[in-house]
Amino acid sequence: MSGSRPWGKIILFSSIALFVISWLIKAGVLSSTGGVTDISVRDAFFVTLAAFLTLAILSFLYKDNPYYKFAEHLFVGVSAAYWMCVGFWSTFVGNFIPRVSSTLSGFFGVPFKEFNVFYLIPLILGVMLLMRLSSKTGWIARWPLAFIVGTTAGLNLIRYLRSDFVNQVSNTFVPLLVEWKGIGPFFSGFSLSASGQFTLSLTNWVIFVGTFCGLVYFFFSKEHKGFYGGASRLGIWVLMVTFGASFGYTVMGRVSLLVGRLTFLFQDWLGLIS
């Protein structure tokens, strides 16, 4: 908003004017289609607000500008408070209060369950965390941190081992010669169709070799030379092919999101399409 002050002001005033006009027209349209005027005015305000914020974010594509900054800062403030409120009501009031105090439960209007001394521990740990605000007592905050990190490290250790390790390893247990009943039957049933024995076997081979080379690529303590070098190079090739394919595949989903946003602008706000 520095260099071209007059232009900036003109744009600002015209966008405020446009906002008001849009609000009024929208309110008129909504109430004419049979709504209570009060609610129409409110709904029209919110639709217009949503539309202008959408445009403000899209303006980021041109360059960083005051409208984007406005939307961004508003977004940050509102979202931080949103999480705090949700966390307070659902976790603190919903889970914690009914276990520690009947008076507070009454105050917040949640049914008191029964006093449970174990629920005082997170309270203490939480207060310890708040000690961080003072530089003298800050080190106490490490206790709750250590509790969280320790608990979840144990949890994650098992989770990684089970779902990423054992399950994936057992998934590699596929026959390299599908439905093997000897050489004769294998070749007599030879076909190149997608569900044929030969194609399925070939697929399993490709998956095995791909996984093998990929794992070799992740060897850290071996120099990638000779056999390791070849295998790890093949491994990174497979990775790259995969990344390209995933990238290309995701385009569809992202375009759908934009379609949804533009449909909101054209349909819900401007009413250009039905």
């Binding site: 594509l61 041109y62 169709s193 997608a194 569900s195 194609t199 399925l200 385009v251 569809m252 375009v255 759908s256 934009l258 379609v259 533009l262 449909t263 054209f266 250009l272 399409i273």
Partner: protein, 303 residues
């Protein structure tokens, strides 16, 4: 209108791309804002002017269409609604298209679901499509909604030998034996075609494994784009054909509109969604090509 819009937007976008291609050959890079404008246009113009592409059905989609088309009128087709609301935008166009096609061709349609959420979606389809567009069709004679039964593929295990072991009534509680449509229908084996529309578990794969394959019943499917690649290997031996994602739906809708004048005005959500998708993909690919051209030209100049 559609043709003119298509021509103008194609002309504009094409001319723009050509201009940047020429610039690329001169060794100039494209600024990213230009790319943004093109993507914006490629998505916005088809939405605003309702530009659609006539999708040419790929063989795997065409196979499903031909199967329903070539069955003699009065054949029995079962459509299973194996999806919920979150997946509906992608696969509902498919089940709707199957439903319309089967009824228009005069087949008897049996509707069921392996997903609890499928039952209400199927109910909505009957209200909005069957009752409005096919008022002459009679419930219990031309179509029946069997509804949802819990048990996933276990349900298939049972109804492949006897439907009445799972379903004694339809979804409204009417005894199946009182319905003309259920006469001479004992099990899934009496169906002429099974269609599962879904994308999760259970879905098309379970239908193939537990019904189509063991019962030697022709089986077709519609699936969300995410899981479609996993189903391709079943075609053409275990699946008659498959609709994958919104693109498959669009191809089927196009085929239907082309051959049935009565559907000229039917909503085509699949085709509609494909307009922005096709243009955006073309624009991105064009820019990749342009980028590579300018890259090689700059490199040759430098080196």
């Amino acid at each position: 209108m559609n043709k003119v819009g298509l021509l103008i937007s194609f002309g504009l976008i094409g001319a723009g791309l050509l201009w940047f291609l020429i610039r690329a050959i001169r060794g100039q890079e494209v600024e990213r804002r230009i790319i943004f404008v093109f993507i914006g246009l490629a998505v916005a113009v088809p939405i605003l002017f309702n530009i659609t592409f006539s999708e040419k059905a790929s063989p795997i989609v065409e196979a499903v269409y031909d199967k329903i088309e070539n069955l003699s009128s009065g054949s029995k087709i079962l459509i299973s609604y194996d999806y919920g609301p979150s997946m509906a935008p992608e696969v509902e166009p498919m089940s709707n298209a199957f439903l319309r096609h089967s009824l228009a061709k005069g087949h008897k349609v049996y509707i069921m679901g392996l997903w609890a959420t499928g039952q209400s979606l199927a109910g909505a389809a009957i209200e909005n499509i069957v009752k409005k567009e096919f008022p002459e069709k009679v419930n219990g004679v031309d179509y029946v909604n069997l509804g949802y039964k819990a048990g996933n593929q276990g349900v298939l295990n049972v109804i492949i030998t006897d439907i009445r072991k799972m379903y004694l009534t339809d979804v409204a509680g009417v005894n199946l034996d009182s319905m003309p449509i259920m006469k001479n229908v004992k099990s899934l084996r009496d169906m002429d075609l099974l269609i599962s529309v879904g994308g999760g578990l259970p879905g098309v794969k379970e239908w193939v494994q537990f019904a189509g394959d063991p019962g030697h019943i022709p089986m077709a499917g519609g699936s969300a784009a995410v899981s479609a690649p996993l189903l391709y290997p079943y075609w053409p031996t275990q699946l008659v054909g498959l609709l994958g994602g919104i693109k498959g739906a669009a191809e089927y809708e196009s085929e239907l509109v082309r051959n049935y004048p009565r559907f000229a005005k039917m909503p085509q959500p699949g085709v509609k969604m494909m307009g922005p998708q096709t243009l955006a993909h073309l624009v991105i690919m064009a820019f990749i090509v342009i980028g590579n051209i300018s890259y090689f030209i700059i490199r040759r100049r430098q080196g």
